[in-house]
Amino acid sequence: MAVRDERPKTPETVSELPGEKQGLIAGAMSIVKGFSITVKAAATRPSTVKYPKERVTISPRWRGPLALRGVLGRDEIPLLRGPSYAYNELIDDLYKKDRLPPCVGNCPANVDARGQAYLIADNRVVEAYELVRDRNILPGVLGRICHHPCESACKRNFYDEPIAIRPLHRFAFEEYRKIRHERISPFPRTQGKSVCIVGSGPSGLAAAYDLLKLGYRVVMYERERKPGGALNTGVPAYRLPREVLYEEIDDIVGLGLELNTGVEVGKDVPLAKLMREHDAVLLAVGLQQSRLLPIPGTDAEGVVGALEFLWSANFKHEAGVRGKRVLVIGGGNVAVDVARCALRVGASEVKLACLESESEMPCHPWEIAEALDEGVTALCSLGPEEVLTKHNQVVGMRMRSCLSVFDETGRFAPKFGEETTDVAADVIVFAIGQAPKIDQLVAGTELLVSGRGQLVVDGTLFTTSVDGVFACGEIVTGPGSAIGSIATGHEAATSIHRYLQGLPLDGDRVARPVPVYPKHAPADTRGIESSRRRAVMPMADPSERATDFRQVELGLTRQEAMAEAMRCLRCESEVCVGCTFCARTCPDYAIAVERVDEAGARCLTRYDLDLTKCCFCGLCAEQCPTKALHHTGQYELSFWHRDLMVFDKGEMLRPPIGTRATGRDGISPPGCPVPRKEEA
C-alpha cells in the first residue's frame, strides 16, 4: 500500500530533528514556519461543531444515567402466544430484536417457559398450564421426562442456578389435573377437511392438537392398545407414570380427536385407503426397531435390542434378566434407561459400556448420575469387539479400548487402541440407536423409501414423495427427544394447514431461528442466600427406588413451586422484576431495590438510583436479564439540588427524554441531543 511507504520512519534518536540548524536565522525561520502552520490551521474548517446547528450525536452505547422500561406490578410481560402457523414468525421477530428469552429460544418447540413462570408466580397456574400446552402438548409428561434445554440456557445459570422449568410444568399439570374436566371442551370444527395421523406419539399428538385447533377433523391410529407411542412403550414407568400420559391424551380426545387404538396401519388398515378417505395423512410412526452391531455373536441367545427390552420391562415388569449380569452397550439416554430398568427387573449387576469417555457421554449428565447412584457401573472408552458365546449363549463381551470417538472436524470416527478386555455378562442389551421399520406401512402406496429403509421426507416442510402425505417425529429426525418430536409435529401441522388451504408450503414461511446461547460455567454458590437457590426436587432414596417402578422424582410442593416461579428473571421482557442483580453488581452500591414477593401482588416497591454514587461503569445495565434497565442519552447532568440526584422509581420509569437533570421535567433543553427512538 502506498500509505505504508509514506509512513515516517522512526529516527535513531529523537533528540535531533531532521535538517535541524542552530542559530538566529534558523530560529526565526522556525517561527515563520510556525506562523504558516497556524495560518493553515485557521484556514481549515474547525473540528469542533457549531453547537446548535450541527447537533452532537451520541453513540448508541452511550453510558448515560439509567432508566427502567417497565416494572414488576405495573407492566405485564408479553406472553408468547400465537397459532402454530405464525409462531415461528413471532419467535423470529423477537430473536431479531434480541428480545427472545433464552429458555424459549433454546427449546425446540419454543415453549414459553417465561410466561409459565410469570403466570405461576401470579397464582394463575391453570393458565400457565394452558399456555404451555399450546406449544408443548403434553406438559405433564414432558414435565417428567424432558431433557429441558430451556434450563441449560436459563440466564439464571449465570447468577446462581437455573429455574426449575421442567418441575414447574409438572406442578402446573398437577394443579390443572384437579379441574381438568371443567376446562376441556371440543374445538369447533370450522373446516370441512379431515386429516389422518398415523401414530400417537408426541409428534402426532402435537400435530393433532394444532389441526384440531384450526378446526379440522383429525383421526388418529395407534398400533398399541394404549396411545402414546414411544412415551408409552419406551419410557420407563419410574420416570413417567402411565396415568399421566393417558390423562393428557384423554384431554386431546376431549378436544375432538378421534383416536383408534389397536389398529396397525398397513396391516389392519391399508395406508392407501386412509389416503383416499382423508384430505391429508400424517405419518408419525417413530422408530420401531433397535439397531444391532455387525459384530460376531449378535445372533446368540441373550442379545437383546433396547426397545424390546424396555417394552417388556415396562409392560411385563419382567425382562428375563432376574439375577443375571446385564451389560448395556451404548452411552445415550436410552442406554441409561435400559440400565436402570434392568436393575428394577432384578438384574444382579448392571454395567454400561460406551465408546465415549466419561465427559463425552451423550446422555444427560444428571441421568448417568442418577443411574450411578442406583448402582449401575459405567465402563467408558470401550468399543464392542465381539460377543463371547458358549453354546450359543452369551457369556460376555470382548471390548477394545477406544482412544478417541470424534475426529478433528467433530465427525464420528472412532479410533481404537490395542488393548482388549473381556466383560462377563449374561445378557447384552444394545442401546446404540433405533431404526425405522416402515416397509409394511408403505406397502401399496407410492411413498418412496430410501435404500436404508428410511422414508424420504423433506426435513423442513415435512412433505413426503406423495402429495398430501406428511411425516413428522423421529421418523424424520432420527432418534431424538420428545420435545424435538413435538416441534416437528407443529411444523408438520403448519405444512398440512397450508396444504389444505391451498397456500404454497414454503413461500413466506419463517424458519425457526436457532439461537446459540453462551455456555455458563457452574456458578459459585458459596455465599449465595438460600432464598436465591433453586428448589430442590425431592427424590426417592436410591437404594429403595432401584427395586421398583415407582417414580424417582417426587414433584414440588405448591409453596416450592411458587417460590421457584418467582425466581424467574423474565429475561428480555423489559420489565424489571426486582432481581437485585443490578444492585449486587454495582461497585458503588448506588442502587437499592426492594420488592414484595406475594403471589398475585408481586411488585417492585423501591428502585433508587443514587447518581451521586454512580460511576457510569455500565455493569448493571450490561447484566440486566430483562433489559429493563438501560442507559439513556442524557449527558448534561446538572442539578439544582443535590437531593434530585437520587432517582426514585417514578423517575427511573419516566421516558428518558430529558431527565430532571435538565431542570425542565420531560422536556429537552434547546440543543440537547434527543435520544434515538429505540433508546427512548
Binding site: G527, E529, R584, Y589
Partner: protein, 153 residues
Amino acid sequence: MRIEELRERVCAMYPDLCPLFSIEFGDGTIAVPLERIHSALADLKDMGFDRLGMVTAVDRGEDFELVYRLQSRTLRAGMFVKTMVPRSDPKIPSVCDLWPAANWQEREVYDLFGVVFEGHPDLRRILLPDDWVGHPLRKDYQDERIIRRPDYI
C-alpha cells in the same frame, strides 16, 4: 531467560534456599528469611536484577509478607523475593541503598502497613496525611467512616 535457568542460577547462589524457590503463575518466587533479605537482594542485584519493580506487603495475619518484584533488563527476567515480617515487630532493613527506587515504595508500605524500614533516609507517610492514625491496608484496620459493604454477592 527461562525460569528454569533462573532457578538454577539462584540455586547455585543459595543452595539452602533452593527448596523455597517456587514457580507459580509463570513467575519465579524465592522466599528468603527476614535476616537474609538485604544480602539476598544485594546478591540478586549483582546477578543482574537492575530494576526494583515494586515493593509491597500482604497482610497474612500473624505476619506481613513483604514482596519485592525484581526485573532485569540483561537477563530478561523478572522474579519475586518474599519474606515474612512478624506483625508484632514489623521491622525490615531498607533497600534504598541498593535501589533508590525503593525510597517511595517503602514509604508507601510504611504508610499503609506500618512496616518500618530500617535505614530508610526519609521514612514518613507518603499517601496519607502525616497525622493519620493507623495503617489502612492492614486487615484489622478500623475506621468508623468505612461504609460496610452488603454481605450478599
